[in-house]
């Protein structure tokens, strides 16, 4: 059978060609498509085009996915959700969750945050470890070639808000929402998270 004998393309088989190219057809479908290809030059050219398109789609590199930063953000939201609704929604939960001590600690943080909110001015222009509205403030410098998207992701990973800067040396002040100024462990954790991103963050510290 030649192209001359089959001037009309087989539309049903034509529609299977992309899945022939990605290798997901059933054995029967693949056999039918291969028979079609052996008889149609146009179909073979189309398969070649589809292969190139697929190679291109595979090779094209979209911007980096959120990765570990996104996971930190997710864990933070889950923790916040747990704090907001401490009763286990899962009928028991896993060991280690909803421990009374953790709930007590969360309450202490919340009370301290509320007190700081009352006591501090809106913008954190005092000592870097002082609060802004409800959070500790740290100092951060970003890589010169960091994109806005990367900076945004880094801030989201620590639930941080830019409150001031850049200063003369390019230092920004970042408020850690919900982290009390005396919660050294949480501040260290946030700084470690930021320092784990050397392509984005060139320095992070608790300030003076």
């Amino acid at each position: 059978m030649s192209d001359a004998q089959t001037p009309d393309r087989d539309s049903e088989l034509d529609q299977l060609l992309p899945w022939y190219v990605n290798g997901t057809l059933s054995d029967d479908e693949r056999a039918r498509v291969e028979a079609y290809l052996s008889a149609s030059t146009a179909a073979r050219e189309e398969v070649e085009l589809l292969r190139r398109l697929r190679e291109h789609v595979k090779a094209s590199q979209p911007s980096r996915s959120p990765g570990e930063l996104g996971l930190k953000r997710l864990q933070r939201e889950i923790a916040a959700e747990r704090q907001a609704a401490p009763a286990s929604p899962r009928g028991g939960g896993s060991p280690g969750w909803w421990r009374p001590a953790a709930i007590a600690a969360a309450l202490v943080i919340a009370i301290q945050g509320a007190l700081l909110f009352e006591m501090q001015p809106e913008r954190g222009v005092g000592p870097a470890t002082g609060g802004g509205s409800g959070g500790s403030v740290i100092e951060v410098t970003f890589a010169a070639d960091a994109t806005e998207s990367e900076i945004r992701a880094a801030l989201q990973a620590v639930d941080g808000r830019l409150v001031d800067g850049p200063g003369a040396l390019g230092v920004y002040r970042v408020r850690l929402v919900g982290v009390a100024p005396d919660d050294a462990a949480a501040i260290r954790d946030a700084i470690a998270t930021l320092e784990a991103l050397p392509d984005v963050v060139t320095g992070a510290n608790a300030g003076q």
Binding site: D14, Q15, L16, P18, W19, V21, N22, G23, T24, L25, A42, E45, E46, E48, L49, L50, R52, L53, R54, H56, V57, K58, A59, S60, P62, S63, S65, P66, G67, G70, L71, R73, L74, Q75, E77, I78, S88, P89, R90, G92, G93, S94, W97, S149, R152, A153
Partner: protein, 183 residues
């Protein structure tokens, strides 16, 4: 992989946060790329990945195992993406004229030559409609069978094939035009 993913969902449903971390690491990349293929906005795509994973965390128990985990999680991502597109453009719809005849037949040789040029392909891919880009992405990046794509985009298998067919024609026409514009 599917069995492993189902076991992860079982553990997530019981409140195991480490299982969610494993699930996240397995699926955040594919979900992000899928959402980005439609939204073309890395900020919003990252937000949607977060929303999808929160949904998985809250509702893992709803996964009944009737579909593949990939189909389920991509389906969640797709619904959230469409919601976001509707907010962006209130008149956004999924309407595509699937039955438009392709009365012109691009020269396959011209298209093959143009397809050597990665910039041409990229440009033409960006010009595809969102639903067309979505199907091309699922077929050529994720290498999914058409039946699974139909489950994700919630339409009949025939529609997936037709959508892919029209996407391919649109790409061919675009590549041929670019070849014609070249000095």
């Amino acid at each position: 992989m599917q069995q492993e993913a189902r076991e992860l969902l079982d553990r997530i449903a019981r409140g195991d946060e480490s299982a969610l971390s494993d699930f996240y690491r397995a699926y955040e990349g594919p979900v992000y790329r899928f959402v980005l293929s439609r939204l073309n906005d890395s900020f919003e795509a990252a937000d949607i990945v977060n929303e999808v994973m929160m949904e998985v965390w809250r509702h893992a128990a709803r996964f009944e195992g009737r579909s593949k985990v990939t189909t389920w999680v991509f389906g969640i991502a797709r619904h959230k993406t469409i919601d976001r597109l509707r907010k962006r453009r209130p008149d956004h719809g999924e309407e595509l004229d699937e039955n438009l005849p392709d009365d012109d037949s691009p020269d396959p040789v011209d298209c093959l030559v143009a397809a050597e040029n990665a910039e041409f392909i990229q440009l033409c891919m960006e010009r595809l409609s969102e639903p067309h880009r979505e199907v091309v992405h699922l077929a050529f990046f994720e290498d999914l069978p058409y039946a699974e794509i139909a489950g994700i985009v919630d339409c009949p298998e025939g529609t997936v094939k037709t959508r892919m067919f029209h996407a391919k024609k649109a790409l061919q026409r675009c590549l041929q035009r670019l070849m014609g514009d070249r000095p």
